[in-house]
Point group: C3
Chain length 400, copies 3
């Protein structure tokens, strides 16, 4: 038995906590293959290869018909890591054993898998096979958090809307309806956020989370300035660029203050530009500008030494900065392998760097980012294989 | 037989289209070793190691004397990928079987190779051994495109001069002489470009191409603004910085419009700064600023959904962006491994990322960028070895 | 015997010159384990893992007590490259053969190692075992350079204070006291620097060196402008931002002029931001902004063709730029693997790129950056293992 396979066996025996997902706790598992192939990875890759967006996003499209439209395009992405996840799910969960999904075998697969997915114990079957002990959610700030097991499906307060879309009337209405507080100055903003944090922490929330554009560079904003800007927003006035930046910094900083008071980690996902490709499929429109540095968070990391910041970066060119900042700042923790960096070549590079230079007690290995539970299995399996290879090569062979 | 060598055999059986070269179709093959050692890779590397530029760029230098001056410096670059290409060419084409080219063996090599290269069938011999089916050229916009086989040596319209040097009288004279149109506003610019595209597409041109500096960020320019700026240029006035940027954006955008109308791909080579080292040898003066992002082309990619953009990047730090943009935008295609990224360590990293995350139907593997035909052989061989290793490791071993 | 182990044996036979260290020539070797564990790599990593700074930086802390406070935290960094250096030093120098340093075995190790380190021949023992032939120092500009063997401990003139802290009265006082020249204009600055260079070169100095922040972009400054700015500084006036930048550029340029006159290399260490984490341990407060490019040194490299610039970069994302600039500019030389890039994953990537594309006569392989002599052994050993692997994989296997 090689060192690599020995390590892999040990890794496979570990039960999992998935610290970042987009699971809907009311419908965590898939019901048909359309739920799986509807994951944006497949729609965006096949669209990139030529499939028209309208064909798969047509209003009221039947799930089986949707899969039937996607399948003829799957041959274009057979090389991708994402396709390998699909095949692995079909093999493990649906007894599929062909080499590829084609126009001639997909219907049988669809029908067989639908029968399995629609059985009553499907969710527990998936969880059991996948070895999951906890699944962290991504909850809107006004999520009721009722009627699901928050010990297993752990709530996390997602705050993008509050920081980046507070000027939108809809966001403000949702906030005042969730908190019964109308925000018009710094003090009422803090009260409203406090009320959200009360709600979330009393429902077992374990993190506050946000995704951030590459040009965001937060700094403290004084209360008088925040009063002015928030009053303008409350009046329905349009902010100028400087005011908008200060609004965003103020809300972001106030969230960090709440995290500090509640001893809650603040998950940062740094580097995404939204709606770059406006003609793209749902969730397949975002890209990035790699010209971003963690130096933009210098003030934040210094200002909140008792807040842990599990940090993800979108660009692989930020991987070493994340390692170096986690090496120096006690409160910076490398967190998973996000999105465009979640393919083997970049995971492997990042794993090696983190294992070589960040204290082992500070590493949060992997999260699936999944929308449906079935994805945990192939994604964690991919991660384990890479980790086993890295550990064998860098830590067994190199150190003799 | 290992998976890697099995894959390599299959790759070696594939005939080649070389989609970007600097071949002169009237003199495609080398006549002496000086043509090969005159490739800028060798002059710039030996100059970097200490050889004075004047020694090898002396007016009227005899080819054999030029090689004689270069050879004593070759030992300084024996470690480089470029030297390995040289050795492979000498072995395959000239029956050379020493381990290195030295002051004591070069003359025999020179004479033997000259005899071979000056035989009548040398060009066809090289093409035959190299397995080339088509060679794409890089043609000046006023190239006559006559007297060569455009089915084999495929014309491509290179447009750097039009976008970046239109203020130079020489460029404008060449344009008006090629098109019989004097450009003085947006309309006449479109007519002149249309005339060039007519000429090129009627001569089997298969791409428009351009290299772009890292700070270029094209955006649409209105016709009235373009009229103003182009009139100024026509009058011989000097443009201010804003006008110059708008001129460049306007011409660039008008080229994309032509590509859209003619269904021609627009090859983008992103990231080069010209004449950074002014004391350098010919073609050995350019470098780059890695602080460039494909987000600068966001508007372009959205504005021209039916233009394919085969895109090359100069800095390896842009490799993941290229993969991500090709994953999301249907019209972005990763294209070859350009210049400073065309060495095994970066090719390997880029190959892995592209194969793991871009639809296989959208990948353009490799181009040689060669000035003389002999270079296709060692450069494609290098690429095949890397590709075989990547495919074996990531796709056979990892997926079982 | 594999190619890799054969190459490793050859590398191990080579005696070493360490071209960049922070060795104190009056106390080059450690006296206790506290000197070794006091190296900032261990204090910053354990602090990052949770050890309070005050516990290890307490005034008058006894060396053994300091080690006793660090040891319980070592388990948090057992995965790191830095820990592997520690273990290797303990094994080779102190006959340690446990798998880890723990609360139950550290005292025996401490006592045994102290006995060895306090023997009279400890320094020569370490040098002998390590194979060091020369150790380059980092000397303050006002260092007397007396009473040590400058043939072995080679002085280097470190100039950060002169360029970046000349506005501080302390720096100016040190300069005038070292040179007996009071700087108040361009001319007196040149005289003072000339005097420092006289002193250093007459004491066998072999390099001028400086570390540079990511936003530094030097350009020549005219003498009249420098006169104005230096007069303001001499008067004790505060400079505005433009004046400060010009002051820094002027002094930096004047240093390059001195290097040119004295035929002294100018070591550039590009990319560090100082005191980013102000609550960090000594020397564990600096980080970086990866958004830096060597294009910022374009004017410098062109202006001083006869000055060799051995260049280090902090961010791995600058690694390819360094290779490309060294490939083109005769006077740019890649120098070591600096700080946050000095871990195997980045060394390996950089080694491959440098070996594939920079003339072999221009490469300066490795420096230890050490504070105490014991570190040369594990750090060069790490480098040799990586180099052997890279040479075997890229140069033996790939070229057959």
């Amino acid at each position: 038995m090689t060192a690599e396979s020995e390590i892999l066996s040990e890794l496979e025996a570990i039960r999992l906590i998935d610290p970042h997902t987009h699971i809907n706790p009311y419908a965590p598992a898939s019901r048909t293959l359309a739920d799986i192939l509807g994951y944006h990875y497949y729609t965006e890759l096949t669209h990139s290869a030529g499939l028209e967006r309208e064909r798969i996003e047509q209003q009221g499209l039947d799930p089986k018909e949707k899969v039937g439209r996607l399948v003829p395009w799957l041959h274009t992405i057979e090389n991708t890591a994402q396709y390998s996840w699909l095949l692995e799910m079909c093999r493990v969960f649906f007894d599929f054993d062909d080499e590829r999904i084609t126009e001639s075998n997909w219907e049988a697969l669809y029908d067989l898998s639908a029968a399995k997915m629609q059985s009553d114990d499907w969710e527990s079957t998936v969880l059991d096979v996948s070895g999951l002990d906890q699944v962290y959610l991504t909850n809107d700030f006004d999520d009721a958090l009722t009627d699901f097991d928050t010990e297993f499906y752990v709530p996390c307060l997602r705050t993008d809307d509050l920081v980046f879309h507070f000027e939108k009337p809809d966001t403000r209405e949702r906030l005042s309806s969730a908190t019964e507080i109308t925000v018009h100055n710094a003090e009422t903003m803090r009260q409203a956020l406090g009320s959200l944090f009360d709600h979330f922490t009393s429902n077992n929330a374990r993190a506050c989370a946000i995704s951030l554009p590459p040009d965001f560079s937060p700094a403290p904003v004084t209360d008088p300035r925040a009063d002015t800007v928030l009053q303008k927003v409350a009046n329905g006035s349009t902010l100028d660029t400087g005011e908008r930046l200060d609004l965003r910094s103020f809300v972001f900083w106030a969230l960090a203050e709440q995290c500090s008071e509640r001893h809650l980690p603040f998950d940062l996902m740094i580097g995404v530009n939204r709606r770059v490709y406006e003609g793209g499929v749902v969730q397949g429109q975002d890209l990035y500008d790699k010209r971003v540095s963690l130096i933009q968070y210098r003030q934040l990391f210094n200002a909140f030494p008792n807040v842990t910041f599990p940090t993800s970066v979108l660009s692989e060119t930020s991987g070493q900065e994340l390692v170096s900042y986690a090496w120096i700042f006690p409160n910076v923790v490398p967190h998973g392998h996000w999105w465009y960096s979640n393919i083997p070549v970049f995971i492997e590079q990042d794993c090696r760097a983190r294992l070589q230079a960040v204290p082992q007690t500070k590493q949060v290995g992997y999260y699936s980012d999944m929308y449906k539970l079935e994805f945990a299995l192939p994604k964690f399996a991919m991660y384990r294989r890479i980790l086993a290879r890295v550990l064998a090569a860098d830590f067994v062979e190199d150190r003799g």
